[in-house]
């Protein structure tokens, strides 16, 4: 930054910045801002947009026809996130810790193979598990039979009580590769000298993990948490491909993404409404913003990056 500050001419700067800023502003930043603004409008009888204040938000949050649906989606989404935090990230951490062990044979192969599902489309993964869990095919039941658990098998995707949990686990199964890789990269960055020194001092593998490696990768765990949060509260594809826009049975798998889609485009008898849809998007924006804000204030600030 210190060198050659004066050699660049304004037109050159504009040339470098223009394409990226133009595409980003036009197709990402502005639509987002417009959507947020549109949540405060509604259509009059001629279809013209008129300012409506907080009317849309009042409808979604308080109107009996709408609020039950919204809060249902919100709670489901929170459960979806909780299951990812309870399963995906701890298992990802465990796997990354195991194959980052020094001199483990076949570590690269494990890493490559376990990452594979993350690469595939959610749509494909959703259908694959739908087939496996289908009582029609019976593969799931057969497999559980090997463990003597065939009696426990149930059409989990079809039952109101279990559908959301099942879909969450499918999503965990697919996306475990992401936290795994991020944590693995962080573990690689832990200097060997520290580990060796601890080893020499007589610390066991467990102690090295809990007292040295884990504290050193806290910043990455924070990052993984917020990435999971944003991805989960923005999820849509899996529910839509397995359960359709109606997120059945009886909306038990409805999350904010599917609610947004239905509100905007309509379904069955209900006509789509761009203004109410925008208001749902605004609420999703606020949820994500709250999460990201909390992350920066509470997590990022307290975690000093270790100078590795």
């Amino acid at each position: 930054m210190k060198h050659a500050v004066h050699t660049v001419r304004p037109w050159q700067l504009v040339l470098f910045l223009a394409p990226a800023l133009l595409v980003y502003t036009l197709f990402s930043a502005m639509p987002l801002a417009q959507t947020l603004a549109q949540g405060f409008f509604s259509a009059d009888e001629n279809g013209k947009a008129v300012y409506a204040g907080l009317e849309n938000f009042r409808t979604i949050l308080l109107d009996p026809d709408w609020s039950a649906g919204f809060w249902n989606a919100m709670v489901n989404n929170a459960r979806f996130f909780a299951i990812h935090m309870l399963l995906q990230n701890p298992i990802g951490l465990a796997l990354a810790t195991l194959f980052s062990l020094k001199g483990l044979r076949g570590a690269r192969t494990y890493r490559t193979l376990i990452f594979l599902p993350t690469l595939l489309s959610v749509v494909i993964i959703g259908f694959i598990w739908q087939l496996i869990l289908s009582p029609l095919w019976g593969v799931g039941e057969k497999l559980m039979g090997f463990a003597g658990l065939a009696g426990l098998f149930a059409p989990w995707l079809g039952q109101e009580e279990t559908a959301l949990t099942t879909l969450s686990i499918v999503s965990v199964w697919q996306y475990i590769g992401m936290p795994m890789m991020l944590i693995y990269a962080a573990l690689l960055a832990v200097p060997d000298e520290i580990i060796e020194a601890a080893h020499v001092e007589g610390a066991g593998a467990m102690r090295i993990f809990w007292q040295i490696k884990l504290p050193l990768i806290y910043p990455t765990l924070g990052l993984v948490t917020i990435l999971t949060f944003v991805a989960n509260f923005n999820a849509f594809d899996l529910i839509y491909s397995v359960k359709g826009a109606l997120a059945g049975p009886n909306y038990s798998t409805d999350i904010l993404g599917t609610l947004f889609y239905r509100t905007f485009f309509g379904y069955q008898a209900q006509v789509g409404n761009a203004y109410l849809g925008s208001a749902v998007a605004t609420l999703m924006f606020l949820v994500i913003l709250a999460g990201v804000g909390l992350y920066f204030v509470a997590v990022q600030r307290r975690l000093t990056r270790f100078a590795l």
Partner: protein, 297 residues
């Protein structure tokens, strides 16, 4: 300090402690392998199951789903039906065009912007960096209502251009962050040498810097191409027509129509998976290196 000072006193390979606990360590390693093997099986089994059953007859699919296809049960009927009744290759081409064009735009535009932001000091630099960084955390999907309206006005609905533009906008923020980090590591001597020879700034970027960032392209590609290739939302909303359908949308629609035809469903899933498996087999090393390099930064 003490730790580092002590280190040379010990041999690099601590022979004695390793031998003392060798049986215990081997047992531990065995458990590690068992755990990793078990999870690997869990990760691969569902995909293998689909591939195996896609080439079996309907009867064999249901009678013994876990069996490999035998001479009697081998059939490619599902594949024939999918290829005959859909433009699968065309969908595949669409996905390829969209993701590659988006990647090209993201790398080129992203590199130009990160060069400007990391190399030059000017008013508004920090503000622009922040503005772009916003896009990393806030999903572009939330702006869909207005993106659709904009695409209608630009007459871009049901074109691949619409998807390329959206994916470029989606990928740019993260690409700028990754590439900026990379550009700060380009040695100053290299740039100064070119400047002393009187080479202009634009030429320096295109002839000195751009060729240097090739290793970073892998990282950018991982984080931009995979989400774009697998996306269902924007193809569904912006380009659902037959001629612009991507693989992901095509498979979703096909399976929606043929739910009860198991041969076709399994074949369609396999057709979507196989190209990815081949690409992954070829590029997994670069991909994983890109992924971990991006995270360590």
């Amino acid at each position: 300090m003490t730790v580092i000072a002590m280190k040379p006193e010990y041999p690099v390979t601590p022979v004695a402690p390793a031998q003392a606990g060798s049986t215990r360590i081997d047992f531990g390693r065995l458990m590690v392998h068992a755990a990793l093997l078990a999870y690997t099986a869990l990760a691969l089994f569902p995909i293998a199951l689909i591939l195996i059953n896609s080439v079996k007859t309907r009867a064999a699919i249901f009678d013994d789903p876990l069996a490999l296809p035998s001479m009697e049960s081998l059939t490619f009927g599902g594949f024939v039906k999918v290829i005959d009744s859909t433009n699968f290759l065309h969908y595949f081409g669409n996905s390829l065009i969209v993701t590659l064009l988006a990647l090209f735009c993201i790398v080129l535009f992203g590199a130009m912007a990160s060069w400007a932001l990391s190399e030059y000091r000017f008013m508004g630099n920090r503000l622009l960096t922040l503005f772009l960084a916003l896009g990393i955390m806030i999903p572009i999907r939330l702006g869909t209502v207005s993106i659709l309206e904009l695409m209608v006005r630009l007459d871009l609905v049901n074109t691949l251009t619409a998807l390329v533009l959206v994916y470029t906008a989606q990928g740019l923020p993260l690409a700028v962050m990754i590439l900026s980090e990379f550009m700060r590591q380009v040695p100053a001597e290299l740039k100064d040498a070119a400047r002393c020879d009187g080479v202009g700034e634009v030429k320096i970027f295109f002839q000195v810097i751009l060729p240097l960032i090739r290793p970073a392209i892998a990282t950018v590609a991982v984080f931009t191409m995979i989400p774009a290739w697998n996306d269902l939302w924007f193809p569904l909303i912006l380009a659902p027509s037959e001629s612009t359908r991507t693989v992901t949308l095509g498979v979703q629609q096909f399976i929606g129509q043929y739910v009860t035809d198991w041969n076709s469903v399994l074949a369609a899933l396999s057709l979507a998976v196989i190209p990815m498996l081949i690409l992954y087999a070829l590029f997994s090393r670069q991909l994983i290196r890109g992924l971990t390099a991006g995270a360590v930064k």
